[in-house]
Symmetry: D2
Subunit: 501 residues, 4 copies
Amino acid sequence: MLNARRPKYADDDKLHEECAIVGVWNAVGAAKLAALGLHALQHRGQEASGIVSHDRSEGRFYSRKGRGHVERVFGSPERIEGLKGGGAIGHNRYATTGEDMTSNIQPMFAEFAFGGFAVAHNGNLTNALKIRHRLVAEGSIFQSSSDTEVIIHLIARSVRSTLAERVVDALTQMDGAYSLVALSPKKLIGVRDPMGVRPLALGRIVGQAVGGGDAYVLASESCAFDLLGAEFVRELNPGEMVVIDDNGITSLNPFPPAVPKPCIFEHIYFARPDSVIGGRSVYETRKLIGKELAEESHPANGADVVVPVPDSGVPAAIGYATEANVPFELGIIRSHYVGRTFIQPTQSIRDLGVRMKHSANGGVLKGKRVVLVDDSIVRGTTSAKIVDLVRRAGAAEVHMRISSPPTTNPCFYGIDTPDRSELLAARYSLDEMAKQIKADSLAFVSLDGLYRAMGEPTGRKTEQPQYCDACFTGEYPSRLVDQDEGLIGASSGLPIEQAAE
Amino acid sequence: MLNARRPKYADDDKLHEECAIVGVWNAVGAAKLAALGLHALQHRGQEASGIVSHDRSEGRFYSRKGRGHVERVFGSPERIEGLKGGGAIGHNRYATTGEDMTSNIQPMFAEFAFGGFAVAHNGNLTNALKIRHRLVAEGSIFQSSSDTEVIIHLIARSVRSTLAERVVDALTQMDGAYSLVALSPKKLIGVRDPMGVRPLALGRIVGQAVGGGDAYVLASESCAFDLLGAEFVRELNPGEMVVIDDNGITSLNPFPPAVPKPCIFEHIYFARPDSVIGGRSVYETRKLIGKELAEESHPANGADVVVPVPDSGVPAAIGYATEANVPFELGIIRSHYVGRTFIQPTQSIRDLGVRMKHSANGGVLKGKRVVLVDDSIVRGTTSAKIVDLVRRAGAAEVHMRISSPPTTNPCFYGIDTPDRSELLAARYSLDEMAKQIKADSLAFVSLDGLYRAMGEPTGRKTEQPQYCDACFTGEYPSRLVDQDEGLIGASSGLPIEQAAE
Amino acid sequence: MLNARRPKYADDDKLHEECAIVGVWNAVGAAKLAALGLHALQHRGQEASGIVSHDRSEGRFYSRKGRGHVERVFGSPERIEGLKGGGAIGHNRYATTGEDMTSNIQPMFAEFAFGGFAVAHNGNLTNALKIRHRLVAEGSIFQSSSDTEVIIHLIARSVRSTLAERVVDALTQMDGAYSLVALSPKKLIGVRDPMGVRPLALGRIVGQAVGGGDAYVLASESCAFDLLGAEFVRELNPGEMVVIDDNGITSLNPFPPAVPKPCIFEHIYFARPDSVIGGRSVYETRKLIGKELAEESHPANGADVVVPVPDSGVPAAIGYATEANVPFELGIIRSHYVGRTFIQPTQSIRDLGVRMKHSANGGVLKGKRVVLVDDSIVRGTTSAKIVDLVRRAGAAEVHMRISSPPTTNPCFYGIDTPDRSELLAARYSLDEMAKQIKADSLAFVSLDGLYRAMGEPTGRKTEQPQYCDACFTGEYPSRLVDQDEGLIGASSGLPIEQAAE
Amino acid sequence: MLNARRPKYADDDKLHEECAIVGVWNAVGAAKLAALGLHALQHRGQEASGIVSHDRSEGRFYSRKGRGHVERVFGSPERIEGLKGGGAIGHNRYATTGEDMTSNIQPMFAEFAFGGFAVAHNGNLTNALKIRHRLVAEGSIFQSSSDTEVIIHLIARSVRSTLAERVVDALTQMDGAYSLVALSPKKLIGVRDPMGVRPLALGRIVGQAVGGGDAYVLASESCAFDLLGAEFVRELNPGEMVVIDDNGITSLNPFPPAVPKPCIFEHIYFARPDSVIGGRSVYETRKLIGKELAEESHPANGADVVVPVPDSGVPAAIGYATEANVPFELGIIRSHYVGRTFIQPTQSIRDLGVRMKHSANGGVLKGKRVVLVDDSIVRGTTSAKIVDLVRRAGAAEVHMRISSPPTTNPCFYGIDTPDRSELLAARYSLDEMAKQIKADSLAFVSLDGLYRAMGEPTGRKTEQPQYCDACFTGEYPSRLVDQDEGLIGASSGLPIEQAAE
């Protein structure tokens, strides 16, 4: 019944991924730390945010959720202080799965016979609709159209006795990609799915624990730790569950082992450049991709300037410029006064969108042979506008270079991609694509070039690729039950909510 | 786990009851009619309102809920128009049961295997917590602390095949008082509990149906029909269920028969004077109570003026003044600019509260022997302030007359009463009460006088009273399971929500 | 250029007057007292409110203004506390003069060479536009379309040396009706115009002064004093100016003497019934008018019930019922959940307006000969709807009785009246009016009857009436310069403001 | 009486300038164009925005002003459409002069005897307070503490007959820096002060005029034109006034000639890099300054990376890295989710401020000799935090290089600078400054180096510098009347306003 992945923004030209999660255990000011973590991870979702905290002395949970940026939802000190206690989990939402409903904002909460718990997760489950249908038939009541609520129902209905066991019980039934945090009065749980598609990292704040000692934090990306004053301990392994409580941290591997398939697109575009994922600096990887790109496809006749499409194209452009020995220049200026390209759920001034975000820096472009570096092309509409912007500013030639292979397939693991029919690279040959975006030339990094930049000197292992690269190859590493059974596409039966002001 | 009936307003001096419901079937502009009905029933609950509508052509439900008056929640035309369709149910909330959470605002909604439905109810269930505990143990997830959600879970888990059968299945398990409306894509259902504690009336709007013909409405009180352009058809009988669909109205009596016990306090205070309840004009009844009061307890030395405590004391004061042949005067002026006495969930200017609502009309009071007529005394604090107000304006004597018997017991059927320990009449003798409120004399109408005013010439039938009058007698007409099993009083395990703006 | 008196509400049926003022001198919590005073005077204007305070220790003024009720504008304790100091003046606005602009909200403020001052006034100046044109030509800049700003400019341009002298200088140039309060760092000034058209009263709060001693308050009506804990000292005389400062109260009579012409309509409708104006209880006067009305025009065939149009018709109906010896009954129930009839600046649900405010109490009306008592008829549209409401509820006969003479002329002294062409009584004979509103009979109290009720046993003195009764007689007690010179009617040249939220 | 230049943000470390202006004449959708222009100039002021438009067919002005970003104030299509007409002027405010009052938001409006006009200006007047005192003494009433209101009063009081003549009359009396736009029903006027301190540019939108033909626009910087679809015509000359009306554009030079003194700091920091000012590309200039800096002061022992303090330090860092042949790296990542460094009027999370805006990109910094490039140092507090951030990320050495000379003097021409006593460079030697910010070395570009980068091969002309560089030299190019007469520093006598919601 749900429309899980309807593309939102007709003229956007990028992929984007849903959601960030954070968890804080036993820390003074846990909700404040969670809010800072969500701020640091704002790039992973800007539609809505929520925090649930638990205060042990009062034996109560506290909750605040709202639409908009973290700053808007939690922006006043009183709000944060009202979320009492030493345990907290938080979530930034980008609405891929489920519709735009307040009840979809995570974390979600449920009461148990033996207490309450809250859950937030990041990713996309590929059999959530099938399980939801079964649960509804058994009398479960859903308040939202979110995957997360499916997990919560499975936890609530589990006959196991501890929260950790129930979480395992629930997740064992789920296919797809997720990183998850769960908070009960007695523990914080973090889980990364067996394929490890989405990242999840563990940090420690020395001396910040309630009553002294160290507090622990979980976050989608390591870049969140610095703002919290936390040190980066390590990433969770694929399939690992950590249970953090008064006895410290317990690491479990409760799921059947699977071949790791971390999402390669986190490295290309989604993660913040100052994060470390899979042990690799995201910034460094992007520069290396730029280097590969320059080696593989520098214009035969040379170029005068290398210009990034800001901001996501900057590291690759630096790598490219260095390798090609061509000046790196800010030929496109990005406005500080709108959000990250295309991640906003409405686009009222459609034609002006690109120009409100990007303006041409004429002096750099006029009469020049320009290499434009961007991270990906999805529908191609934004790329065409950017090329037009640069050309109208006087560029003599515009060569578009993309720091990822052609995106030919939708993602079912949490990155919001349009239908295959809308993907430029699925519809056209390379030459046709160049024509569509009106570039003098167009090139993408090769799959092997990408893997080399990821530290795999021999490139992609064809029979068992080291990463999930389904968006470039169509090789999905798991079953796609909802997709295969045709469950995706109908709208939810839930009421269309008017927000209560 | 829930604190079902915690008294809210420490210095209030009145009882109040929770909630109003309306239902509209197959009418052009159903949500607008529901909003007008809620406006007309605003006196039954002012904390929050909600409407769920269903549009058949789109096959979708629509929902809007918010805190505050109906005017605030639904006040702009666009909002109402966004609630599309020909079917709608609505609710005004006064928070007796459950805490102040957005998720407690009715109507509530659930998906079925075969579609969705919404439910709103008015009253109080006396075994809701016991059933809730059982459902939680079985894996049901509660999003609110409301009784209504218990009903919805029972409906969802029922194995019967139609909504009407499932509603009966659910309600058969519930004790206590309720009037309920339920909306599915195919029908509107209205139910009054077997004792008929809370009112529910049926109306018809000639020619208003979608596609022509008559539309039907349900409302807590008949006074709502006039504003909707509806004609009053009849009240539902205790234990009656009406199912309204494309085939018209079907009346069912699906519950085991019970002795009717309509709430006598609706007649004394809560209902609007222009309503007809139990076939009786509320206004006329209140005048008759005033007449009984004058016969039973006019001051021996006479009086100069009869002054109502506005507005609820006015009809009884008119009856009293006529019977006693003493001039009726507006000795207390009520401000239009604050809500109904004590029905507001905060009271920040505590000391000024009474004076912001009531002011003494000095010319009428100065040097006079004043009979003050009010409808009830709960804690006595407001009465004391009113007597003081009148006395400071120069009254020579102040005789307080109350148009109900002494309130000695809390209500478990939906009227928000403080604990017995806070009820003035449960703690003091009549003389002591007069001293507490500093009146020269104090009298309450007798139980038999009250019943005579209700059209029972021989008064109250002791062995089987004609009404529920437990607040005056302690004779509760049903089991009080949650109360007897000690389930009432703890707070919910749900998070304390911060409203999202 | 200004459209001073455009009628706002096409289907309203009442007159209404603009504005209330309060002033507080040297009191602990001056702004809080001012806000309470404005709350008590809310009936005089509901469109907007403002308070300017002065804090002597900081040598600063503070200001808060906003649209809506006092409760909305000043509703939180922090807001009031932010208006520091011991001196404050406040204003409730009803928009007769000037357009609906934020900059029109009073009090208004100006800097002098020797300091700042704030002014608020109540009434209407009949040569304000002429003077405004002169000032603009001389280079004065107006930020609003309010009369008050004209006064402020005259004060600023005066060459006199003290604020009191400058105020006199300015007001001497003005025609029309006003009561005014002005606040400087060193004094509070109150002025009533030489004719004394609008009321202004002086009160004292014993022991409330900053540093001990008594604080003083000024208010449009005495009814405000009780809520402030103030005692009523006296009304200001027509043409009197009081200057309140550290030396106490000085009373001046700086204007040429004039024949007092207090507004008689304050007594009929506008003032709160518990106020004392001109030494007379407003409530008592209204009852006496009802008595005169019954004597003059009780239906020849008798009546079964006397029913007030609530709330303003209640006192006259009580007087009428007593005199006619017919039962007084609440045949029309007024909703608590909308503002005072027609005083709201928008009326979106035009057809529903009357029914949302008033509902028929059928039991009282059915089959009865009803005398309906109301205070005035302006356009007649509301009266027609009320008569219809009563008749549809089953009344056998409806006899409308009005506690004022026919309103045949617009007011130029601050009561918002439509053009003469819209006044029912200016267009029709008595019989025709009865037909228009579909009443079985219609009668107004006579002019002499009205004066008798005002304590003038011989009625109205024709050659020199004791009150301003121009709305009934067309005898305006002052020049109407702007009107006579055709300055009224064009819109202001100021921008049409969009409120900044 | 006014506190013209009180520093607002105690721990900020940058200069900032007030305000942007735009004007649009005879264009379809003038207000929309003005709003887009303000969006493009958002970097010049983020505290508040306003637009006044004029619609010729209705003969009315329209106005909208509000606090916050352009997007917030004008964000919905209905708001913009409500600002009707073909003429519009707009303003972004950054609050240097005047306090934080709604009435200070520009444009400001006044009525004339012959119509209305609106004015917005950018800059700072150095004798505004003196003139204001004179005007107040003559009876002018000020509603704001803004310089603009002084200009408006002078225009209103002028005895000249046309708006253009009156504007000249008024501006001739003013000292200091300003660019100004004024709108009347018949014309749009643009003026640049005789020294040309602030920029102002003219553009044309082909075919956009109401009724066909070309529309004209004025904007603080040329970067605004692209977004409006306008072509850049030229910059106004110092002392030039353009009058745009139905007869086209008239250029006047009504003021006594003066030596041009454009602000050099626009080029260093304030203007957008894609603007052209004084015929020079701002981006290119900044790169050249970086080049000069590298030549003058590259660390003797070499460096491993050049890292800009984003975003304002980026162009200079590129120039530096190229000249020094050291890799340019993004060692500091700037969050997209907060506004431009320190330009926000509150700073509640004081300690976290820098870290919420900037995070260290560890991989780039660890073990490296880092050259940090920033544009200026004001108080030094932010610089110290940035150095600390980089060092804690593992940098072996941190060499700070600044692309402006030491800031030793406050600006009186519109850039918000703290008192001299708070300027790091006014208090300490170069070595002491390096210690304060804990850098291993610190260097500023030389004055001559700066001038060379500005295209002056022989550097600064000592006797008659080509630019206003008073912030670096203390050589103010005009009288500082208010400053010299001690008028600056007291707070305004106007009330402290509470915003009305």
